[in-house]
């Protein structure tokens, strides 16, 4: 999410440099994180997955599938667009990109926020603020496919697909085909 | 040199308010230490005569005075203006007329006054036209409003005939005009502004032509703005009726599309009309249907115009730009005919104004540089107000010197007092 919006601002195109995870690696990491979610929460009772628009949404869905395969439980999956909560409104154009759909009242729930890449932490901060408007969750946890460092806020993920040291000016792209590191051309 | 008799090349010597000599080698006739006004490449002509200026005094001196309006006129090339009577109080009594004439005595140009047709311009009772005529008033009008009551207008015409004066009508049917703020048509419909249909003007032009036919009295039509009005007057003239007409400079070049900005500077009455009307008015001036170009100089302070379009007063400045606007659409001979000798005749000022430039004539002259390119800067206008629609426009041709009653009141575009 953060990656994508930055690319809008700079207006360049993503030039891939090296593949970091294959499609199969991503799937394996997802299944592992799904197990960790179940393990950490002593089951899936009260767990809700919320994917951040746009990159986190398909990952949240796939994690829900992995949980169903592993635990036989249907976990509610929602999506969240944090545009209206961002802290850079007025600094650059911010537009909502896709739908927010929170399937249930979050009060008392364990919300697992799912995103593709964790970078500065600002998107997650906005998401925490947004989620608080949907009820008082018992706990909010964070699952990301890639943690690339460079945090600007005191935010730490609970579940990580891959820790990936990067330079600040590099770009990380997560898709169905895997994870690719590159730069803006 | 250019006057009603045509064009020739000459020097002009003026002394004691009178033209002493005109000809190729007359400078020797000039008195010693005479002031020489350079006029090479320029046209020397009888001074311009404005049939229609709102000088705002008495009553609205914050917008204009006889002095400032007179200065604006002189700069524009005028040597005489007719001050409209819609002052506060209006010129419906000899006392007010005397006041304006007295103020005019100190102005840079000759200031004539038009009298009101009815008391308070209210359209109910006739104003004392005889008393006013005795002071030299030759034009009567309720301008700003038309005389709505046909019977009253007929009575006024019958009465005026005996006095040898001319009634000038602001043709606007109040009911048809309603609360209109601009021309009624495609633009008003789109802009959501209440409109004044052309018929509001034309119906009164038609009525007054019929009254001219009925009474045999002279009628002068003020600021005609529609193609229909021009056609009505053209037919009335063909019939031989004693009618004359004028058009305002803005109606020669601006259309109702200007109102799309909702800038009340473009609010004027009669309103700016369509392209078709603008063309018809121009043709009317060129073919003589419309005798004169008269400014309808109507000063308003910025704060009066910085209000909702509906609420703004009508009117725009004209004295300092009329000549340039006229020159932008016609040649200088046509422009001078409709700005000088023809209006002078209508105002009863001929030959003192607008007359041939010849020895013995009153020295009311303007010197026009037809090749001078200049841009209108509202801040630099001599008028007390700034409501010109031509701010930023670049024109070709400007008055350079004005000689009023023998005095060089404008020299090289600068008022001398």
């Amino acid at each position: 999410m953060a990656e994508r919006e930055r690319s809008h601002t700079r207006g360049g195109t993503f030039v891939p440099r090296s593949q970091v995870l294959s499609a199969a690696d991503v799937q394996r990491a997802l299944v592992r994180m799904a197990h960790e979610v179940a393990e950490r929460n002593g089951g899936l009772d009260q767990v809700v997955l919320v994917g951040l628009q746009t990159g986190g949404v398909p990952l949240a869905r796939r994690m829900a599938e992995a949980l169903r395969d592993a635990e036989g439980t249907e976990v509610p999956v929602g999506s969240l667009d944090v545009a209206f909560y961002r802290d850079d409104i007025g600094l650059r154009p911010v537009l909502p990109e896709a739908a927010t759909d929170i399937p249930c009242d979050l009060t008392g729930r364990v919300v697992v926020v799912v995103d593709d890449v964790l970078f500065t932490g600002r998107t997650v901060r906005a998401a925490l603020h947004a989620l608080s408007d949907f009820g008082r969750a018992r706990a909010i946890q964070l699952a990301v496919m890639v943690d690339r460092g460079h945090r600007e806020l005191p935010i730490r993920p609970d579940y990580v697909g891959k820790n990936l040291p990067t330079r600040r000016d590099e770009m990380v792209d997560v898709s169905d085909d895997g994870v690719v590191i590159g730069s803006l051309g | 040199m250019l006057d009603a008799r045509g064009r020739r090349r000459a020097d002009v010597v003026v002394a004691d308010g009178v033209i002493r000599a005109v000809g190729p080698d007359v400078l020797g006739d000039a008195p010693a230490r005479a002031r020489v006004l350079e006029a090479s490449g320029c046209v020397v002509a009888p001074g311009l005569v404005d049939l229609h200026a709102h000088l705002r005094q008495p009553g609205a001196e914050e917008a204009e005075t006889v002095e400032t309006g007179g200065r604006a006129a002189a700069l524009g090339g005028y040597t005489a203006v007719v001050a409209m009577p819609n002052t506060d109080p209006p010129v419906d009594s000899a006392a007010v007329a005397r006041e304006v004439l007295a103020l005019g005595g100190r102005a840079l140009v000759e200031v004539c006054v038009a009298g009101a047709i009815t008391i308070g311009r209210a359209g109910k009772r006739l104003a004392p036209m005889g008393e006013l005529a005795a002071l030299g008033v030759r034009l009567f009008t309720d301008d700003g409003a038309g005389v709505q009551d046909g019977a009253l207008m007929r009575r006024a015409l019958d009465y005026a005939k005996g006095l040898g004066v001319t009634l000038a009508q602001h043709c606007e049917d109040d009911h048809l005009a309603g609360a209109g703020a601009m021309h009624e048509g495609a633009w008003s419909s789109r802009l959501g502004l209440p409109g004044i249909p052309s018929a509001a003007e034309e119906s009164m032009v038609a009525r007054d032509i019929a009254l001219a036919r009925l009474t045999g009295a002279r009628v002068h039509f003020l600021h005609l703005s529609t193609a229909g009005s021009v056609e009505l007057v053209r037919r009335a003239k063909a019939e031989g009726l004693p009618v004359t007409a004028e058009a305002a400079p803005h109606h020669l070049v601006l259309t109702d599309a200007s109102c799309a900005s909702y800038d009340a500077c473009y609010k004027v009455n009669p309103p700016l009309r369509t392209e078709t009307d603008v063309t018809a008015v121009r043709v009317g001036v060129l073919d003589g249907t419309i005798d004169a170009i008269a400014t309808d100089h109507a000063p308003h302070l910025p704060e009066a115009k910085d209000v909702p379009f509906d609420d703004a007063p009508s009117g725009m400045l004209g004295l300092e730009t009329a000549l340039a606007v006229a020159l932008s659409v016609m040649d200088i001979a046509q422009a001078l005919a409709s700005l000088s000798w023809k209006p002078a005749t209508i105002a009863g000022l001929s030959p003192r104004h607008g007359g041939p430039v010849e020895p013995g004539a009153a020295a009311n002259l303007c010197v026009i540089d037809p090749a001078l390119s200049w841009t209108v800067d509202p801040v630099r206008l001599a008028s007390r107000s700034r409501n010109t629609p031509f701010g930023g426009w670049t024109f070709m041709g400007r008055n350079r010197h004005t000689v009023s009653a023998g005095e060089a009141v404008v020299v090289d575009g600068e008022a001398q007092r």
């Binding site: 600094l91 927010t100 | 959501g192 209440p194 909702y262 800038d263 910085d306 909702p308 609420d311």
Partner: protein, 304 residues
């Protein structure tokens, strides 16, 4: 977008962007806490020189749900009564640090004039005379799009006092820009003096036009503006141009009836017709907040 003064300022892409962003705000409106921090620290003033309840409340609700501060100015209780000019009022209010001004005035063009007088404020036309009411047309389009999936190709019929209607002028522009065809139906005295340049048709027969319409936009007969004098009697107007029960039966099954409010039951719309499911008046009001949030967000949420 610098200001929103007229629908004519927007192209199709611009209108569609507003509607898309309004979708997101419509979702916000459904949340347990229907408020987002988006415009925290921004200030919006509603300058209503003409009274209005629903438009003012709608704009103020929209601004508050975006966490903007709201200053409410009403001419009735203000310095305007003491003779202060609109220009001075606007300059004073802008000097208080406002970021947006929602302007309503009974004279056409005032928001356009205000946009020339402000230094940095964004100006939103909240309805000016007979000229335009852009946010009303946008919320109408939003409502129709919500119910029909899109506007393109729809047949819109606008019925009533079009001459004096700012809503109609904005609707004609908005609907046609989005690809709908627009037909006007009104007695001749309530049509604009000229329709030159309007991309519309005029209905010969109201009953036929109703049967063909996907959307019927009813307008109020603005009696307080003297529109009553443009028809002989209200009864004759209702008989000729009102959406009576008989006429409502001519409507297609999925036709939509919109009304900008306030509705005068028994004049332009029969009481029981106003309560039919095709009449979407309350949905319009709800959507009005989302659309105005979108407009405020797009004007104030961009790069300052």
């Amino acid at each position: 977008m610098t200001h929103l003064l007229s629908i004519a300022d927007l192209d199709r892409e611009g209108i569609e962007e507003i509607l898309r962003v309004a979708d997101a705000f419509a979702e916000v409106e459904k949340r347990p806490i229907p408020k987002v921090p988006t415009l925290r620290g921004r200030a919006v003033a509603t300058l209503f020189f003409e009274e209005s309840t629903r438009t003012r409340l709608s704009f103020e609700t929209a601004a508050k749900r975006l966490s903007a501060d709201v200053l409410s100015f009403s001419a009735a209780s203000s310095s305007v009564k003491k003779g202060e000019s609109i220009r001075d009022t606007v300059e004073t209010i802008e000097a208080m640090g406002m970021d947006a001004l929602v302007v309503r005035h009974s004279s056409a063009g005032v928001p356009v004039q205000v946009s020339r007088w402000v230094k940095r404020c964004k100006v939103i036309n909240g309805g000016d005379g007979w000229h335009e009411h852009p946010t009303q047309a946008l919320l109408d389009c939003f409502t129709v799009r919500q119910l029909r999936g899109g506007i393109d190709g729809l047949r819109v019929l606008i019925v009533g006092d079009i001459r004096h209607s700012r809503v109609a002028r904005s609707q004609v522009l908005a609907y046609t820009t989005l690809g709908a065809s627009v037909t006007l139906a009104a007695p001749g005295s309530l049509l604009p003096p000229s329709l030159e340049g309007w991309p519309v048709e005029v209905a010969e027969d109201l009953d036929d036009a109703l049967g063909n319409a996907d959307v019927v936009s009813l307008l109020r007969l603005q009696a307080e503006r003297g529109s009553g004098a443009f028809v002989p009697t209200l009864r004759e107007y209702t008989a000729g141009w009102g959406l009576t029960a008989r006429r409502a039966a001519l409507l297609g099954g999925d036709a939509i009836v919109t009304h900008p409010g306030p509705m005068i039951r028994g004049v332009e719309i029969a009481g029981d017709v106003a309560d039919l499911p095709q009449a979407v008046v309350t949905r319009q009001v709800t959507n009005g907040v989302a659309v105005r949030m979108a407009v405020l967000f797009l004007l104030l949420g961009g790069v300052l």
